[in-house]
């Protein structure tokens, strides 16, 4: 059982934050992680920046471009995180696109994650069938939980398939959109949240995309186990810098 499983067993709603490693400046990564934990965040997605993030909206794209300009690389991120488990105990997930992982070497990447104490991976463009055929055994060998996405367009059959292949939580994309492209949830999302909740999946769901404040966090977690905030946090970092992380987290938890 890794830290993700333990966290999911706690009786509370999970607040998870995403940020892009190496943004706003190259060496902010560790400080942001530490400050998020100190301020009561339950889980963190650390974004591995990619040149062509095709599921991301302008905010995360811009942070990725800047992080790469700052000099962020996969090796450097591992370097920055090597002692992270001395100071941080909440689950840490690496989120990124598959190509940088493929170039690093999938097994080498997973091994490094285990050494550091990374608990899971979210690689949106690594499809279910390819994962199962080629990489599941490797992920498991190194104790990594692989997180799959579902969307309002995902068929019930496919959701069942993804649920069966998952061992952690399901990343429930709130609407048909790239990251950061909407605020607030309407009736469609409500209905979708309920539909998934009624499916009684074995894995809990954590909602992502479109959560930006306390209100949307409450809405998203009415049925789901938790929610992930990305673009709104990156915007905050851009505007207020890395020293006010607590202020952002308090704003969600109020």
């Amino acid at each position: 059982m890794n830290r993700i499983h333990q966290k999911l067993q706690e009786g509370k709603k999970i607040l998870s934050l995403y940020f892009t490693a190496g943004y706003p400046t190259l060496n902010d990564t560790v400080k942001i992680i530490q400050d998020l934990e100190k301020n009561g965040v339950d889980m963190i997605e650390i974004g591995l920046p990619f040149s062509d993030p095709l599921a991301d909206g302008p905010t995360i794209q811009a942070s990725s471009t800047q992080a790469l300009k700052n000099g962020m690389t996969t090796s450097l991120l591992f370097q920055q995180l090597k002692d992270i488990r001395k100071s941080v105990s909440i689950p840490l997930i690496l989120m990124g696109y598959f190509n940088p992982v493929l170039q690093y070497g999938v097994e080498e990447f997973c091994k490094k994650c285990q050494e550091i104490g990374i608990d899971g991976l979210i690689l949106p463009d690594l499809p279910l069938d390819v994962y199962q055929e080629n990489y599941e055994a490797i992920f498991k060998k190194y104790g990594l939980v692989n997180i799959f996405l579902i969307t309002p367009q995902t068929s019930d059959d496919r959701i069942r398939q993804i649920d069966a292949a998952s061992d952690g939580f399901i990343y429930m994309v709130s609407s048909a959109s790239v990251t950061g492209s909407q605020d607030g949830f309407g009736n469609n999302q409500e209905a979708y949240f309920e539909r998934i909740s009624d499916m009684r999946l074995k894995n809990p769901q954590i909602v992502g995309f479109g959560i930006s404040n306390s209100e949307t966090f409450q809405q998203a977690t009415k049925h789901a186990k938790g929610a992930i905030i990305g673009s709104a946090f990156i915007k905050f970092l851009t505007q207020k810098g890395v020293d006010k992380v607590g202020e952002f987290v308090k704003g969600i938890q109020k």
Partner: protein, 393 residues
């Protein structure tokens, strides 16, 4: 050796569908439907009719006498430049708009580099009365103004891609994002033999009319269906895929793909993917692509906007890897000179993309009796500005 796609969507080790779950329902639906739809008699009839009456097919296979004399071999030109809209791109957009209609889609998106695919898409959308949005890099919008105007006249909205290098790769990212945001009513008409399966195969099949015609046209002119060589320029690789398709399994036919070397393969300003690329994932498929050691996709360069792509279609990656095709890289200068030679000797001003293919005649020797068919993928009207600047005309 099989050079076609297998049932899982791979060409050897290349291909597949590396897409986020948001795209899965659309791509999967397309995968299940495309071959069935293409095999329907009513689809075939409509497709063939439009290619004939609207596009102007068959495009001529022209024996280039003076070019043949100069290079001492038998040069034929497949005149895709004479198609409506001025390039091969329209073969695919006709096919895909008919596909989109049968899939019940009402809104069309596309990416474009030089603007040829954007124009071809805007054209078929006007023809079918469908909404059309074309994504184009901000830099390409500036350097391809006439094509932007054409798209607007045809009723399309041209949206600038403002991220990254602001060229074709980024326009493709934006189109994919649009599709994620509009999964129900929208079909994405990819213009090249790239993208997640089934796109490379579907685009190749629509473009394969080029090699299908070459076969019977050559039979009429030379008494044999198979030339000694077929040659095409290659960016993403749609005109090359169409030119090679019916010859892939004809062993006696040599296949030559001509890439853009830009300022030179080792200059740092190049788009020669077979030389500079490594296996990776771009726009939903596993293929050869130009990238850093860290897996970040790098910016290609070519004087020709249509070849300025950091990857190559998965079918071509397989042809390269297996040695079935010979890959040759041609610099900006060589291509521009070849464009001038063709203009002067044959009275045909080619697109700079196509000029790359002809440039190999200077260095790659063919025997006098050999028949070499070049795909003249597009006309040079759109490139006049570049020719003017380069030759100070």
């Amino acid at each position: 050796m099989n050079y076609n796609v297998d049932e899982k969507g791979y060409y050897g080790e290349f291909g597949g569908a590396f897409i986020p779950e948001m795209l899965y329902p659309n791509v999967e639906n397309l995968r299940q439907q495309y071959l069935k739809i293409m095999a329907e008699p009513s689809f075939k009839k409509e497709f063939d009719q439009l290619l004939k009456d609207y596009v102007g097919r068959p495009s001529p296979l022209y024996f280039a006498k003076r070019l043949s004399e100069k290079y001492n071999t038998k040069v034929y030109l497949k005149r895709e430049d004479l198609n409506h809209t001025g390039a091969h791109k329209v073969n695919n957009t006709i096919g895909q708009i008919l596909m989109a209609k049968r899939l019940g889609k009402t809104r069309i998106i596309a990416e474009t580099g030089a603007g040829q695919h954007g124009v071809a898409t805007a054209t078929v959308c006007a023809l079918m009365g469908m909404e059309c949005i074309v994504y184009m890099g901000e830099i390409d919008i500036a350097r391809q103004a006439p094509n932007v105007a054409r798209m607007k006249m045809l009723g399309a909205k041209v949206r600038p891609a403002l991220s990254g290098s602001r060229t074709l790769k980024d326009a493709t990212n934006e189109a994919i994002r649009d599709w994620i945001n509009n999964p129900v009513d929208t079909h994405y008409i990819i213009g090249s033999a790239i993208g997640p399966h089934p796109y490379p195969d579907m685009v190749t099949r629509f473009q394969s009319v080029i090699s299908e015609e070459i076969k019977w046209q050559l039979k009429e002119k030379e008494g044999r269906e198979n030339p000694d060589y077929v040659v095409a320029c290659i960016g993403g690789g749609s005109n090359a895929a169409g030119t090679f398709y019916h010859f892939l399994h004809e062993k006696e036919v040599g296949i030559i793909a001509v890439e853009a070397a830009g300022l030179g393969v080792d200059s740092g300003e190049s788009a020669a993917t077979s030389v500079l690329g490594k296996m990776g994932i771009i726009h939903g498929c596993k293929t050869l692509l130009m990238q850093t050691a860290d897996g970040q996709i790098t910016e290609p360069y070519s004087i020709s906007a249509g070849l300025d792509y950091p990857g190559v279609g998965p079918m071509h990656a397989h042809l390269y890897k297996t040695g079935r095709a010979e890959f040759i890289a041609v610099t900006d200068d060589e291509a521009m000179q070849a464009g001038m030679v063709l203009s002067k000797l044959e009275g045909i001003i080619p697109a700079i993309e196509s000029s790359h293919a002809f440039a190999i005649l200077e260095t790659r020797k063919f025997r006098p009796e050999e028949i070499v068919v070049f795909n003249l993928s597009g006309r040079g009207d759109k490139d006049l500005d570049t020719y003017i600047k380069y030759f100070k005309l």
